[in-house]
Amino acid sequence: MPHYMLAAHTRQEDTAPALTDEEMKASWQRIQRVEADLKSAGAWVFSARLHDPDTATVVRVSNGDVLTTDGPFAESKDHLGGFYVIEAADLDAALAWAARVSEAIGNPIEVRPFAGVAWEPGG
């Protein structure tokens, strides 16, 4: 079955007011429901949340020299906040899950098919 990444992009300087504790709790419950459904449908593979992009470090090697720079690779207002890796029969099934995740977290979800998935090195 094909794998898809459901990537949650957030905007750095979002002008939206911070969520109240109540709203945070409601959102968390919605996410948990979607995740439970992903699991019971056999679609769940993996999920991850990332720290903010200002915690990132970029390493590049040029002529044998290691150059290390502070900050994310791409200076952009939008950044990847977290993602799910799911298994779905086709794009429609993946889009349906993405809609549920987007509704739960209140952010747009980018759906991208995996070109390959390896569980072992060289797989």
Binding site: D90, L91, D92, A94, V111, R112, P113, A115
Partner: protein, 417 residues
């Protein structure tokens, strides 16, 4: 194959342009069937292209096969199997695992042709999947269902052929990589999935209507709408779209003067309207009214039916048209609909009333807005402002015929030199 044709009756002679025409009509169905069978658009396209080459060679000599559509599908299917077997053998020779699996295709199995038209429906929903950009949807639909060549699609939309080629390749790659499904949406999905399909067909029609040399697109759009209406007889909006296209098509010949300039509805020679198409359109509109599940395409068809009913512009039942636009505006509250409604109001309540409705619309740069405003300003006697507005309309017009018409002051310029 040729023997079969002879056995089934005397072949009639046929030249290569006729082969091309018939092939184009049949290719959409064959491609759709082969995509279902082989699960790959490129395999299907290449195979149907192979079959076309064979038809060009054989049909002029052997005559048209008794069932050209079945012939195309069967021939293309056999070519696809040959190609895939060759590719599988090559992979074996290279020591790679066969992706296609062991001999999955039975050459002697009877091919499903004829009643299994649903493949074309699957294909149009794949081509018009909302995960694809509208330009890609239109291009894929014309290429795969309309049987147009890439260069024909490119020239229809005034883009260079390599650009169109890239667009098609990218769209097909996305369909394959992201697994855009090849299936007819279920009933509960249709409200989201049908509108882009109808929009693409309507867009194809309008591209044909507005480009003088591209009237083939009008015929293609009507053909697609007819197929959709046959395959989805319960969808009022599909019927509505077909009726709308037939009623606009009925007036197409009267829209252009012999010198190629544009003729407004008010000035058209109504004896040049195609009564057969109007009757067809009317019958569908009546069926829609009986069904009583109105939608935007059905209402636009009804508006065009009212126009078709009037033997002169003055006899048009404008009150009825305003009432239909009221309904349309409630359903799709867009400035373009509001503009069209204002034009109808102008015919009932006079140009001043229409101008008041038009002034607040945010349609700067949309040439029908400027043309309408210019026309209304002229009619209320604000001639200087009308002149400026006609210039603005001419600047924003899309086709040379329209630019010329507007530069001369629209219908007023033509009448008062």
């Amino acid at each position: 194959m040729a023997d079969e044709a002879r056995a089934n009756g005397a072949p009639s002679p046929i030249d290569s342009s006729e082969v091309g025409r018939i092939f184009r009509e049949e290719s959409g169905r064959s491609i759709a069937t082969l995509i279902r069978r082989f699960g790959d658009i490129d395999v299907a396209e290449d195979a149907v292209q192979d079959a076309f080459a064979i038809a060009l060679e054989r049909w002029p000599v052997d005559g048209l096969p008794p069932n050209p559509g079945g012939w195309v599908t069967t021939t293309a299917r056999n070519r696809a199997i040959d190609r895939l077997r060759r590719a599988a053998r090559e992979r074996e020779l290279l020591g790679q695992a066969s992706v296609m699996g062991p001999e999955p295709f039975d050459r002697d199995a009877p091919e499903e042709v004829g009643p299994v038209q649903d493949d074309r429906l699957r294909l149009i929903f794949t081509c018009c999947h909302p995960a694809l950009a509208v330009e890609a949807q239109v291009a894929l639909t014309l290429r795969l269902l309309g049987g147009l060549s890439t260069s024909e699609v490119a020239s229809a939309f005034l883009v260079p052929e390599p650009t169109m080629e890239k667009r098609l390749v990218r769209a097909k790659h996305k369909i394959r990589a992201a697994r855009v499904p090849y299936r007819i949406p279920e009933d509960h999905e249709l409200p989201a999935r049908l509108p882009p399909v109808l929009a693409v067909v309507y867009l194809i029609y309008n591209a044909g209507l507005n480009g003088r040399a591209q009237s083939a697109l009008c015929g293609e759009a009507i053909r697609l709408a007819t197929v959709l209406a046959e395959l989805m007889p319960d969808e009022g909006e599909v019927a509505g779209l077909l009726a709308l296209l037939l009623l606009i098509e009925a007036r197409r010949a009267a829209r252009t003067a012999p010198d190629g300039s544009l003729v407004l509805l008010a000035d058209q020679d109504r004896s040049r309207w195609d009564r057969g198409l109007i009757a067809e359109g009317h019958a569908i509109v009546r069926a829609c009214l009986r069904r009583n599940r109105p939608g935007p395409y059905q209402i636009q068809a009804a508006i065009n039916a009212v126009h078709a009913d009037a033997s002169t512009f003055q006899e048009t039942d404008w009150a009825q048209i305003v009432a239909l636009y009221d309904q349309l505006l409630a359903m799709t509250p867009t400035p373009v609909v509001a503009l069209n409604r204002a034009v109808a109001v102008g015919e009932v309540a006079g140009p001043a009333a229409a101008l008041a409705l038009v002034e607040d619309l945010e349609l700067d740069g949309y040439h029908p807005f400027h043309a309408t405003r210019a026309d209304l300003l002229w009619r209320v006697g604000r001639r200087a402002e009308a002149g400026i507005e006609f210039q603005r309309a001419a600047e924003t017009a899309q086709t040379e015929a329209e630019r010329e018409f507007l530069r001369l002051g629209g219908r007023w310029g033509a009448r008062s030199p």
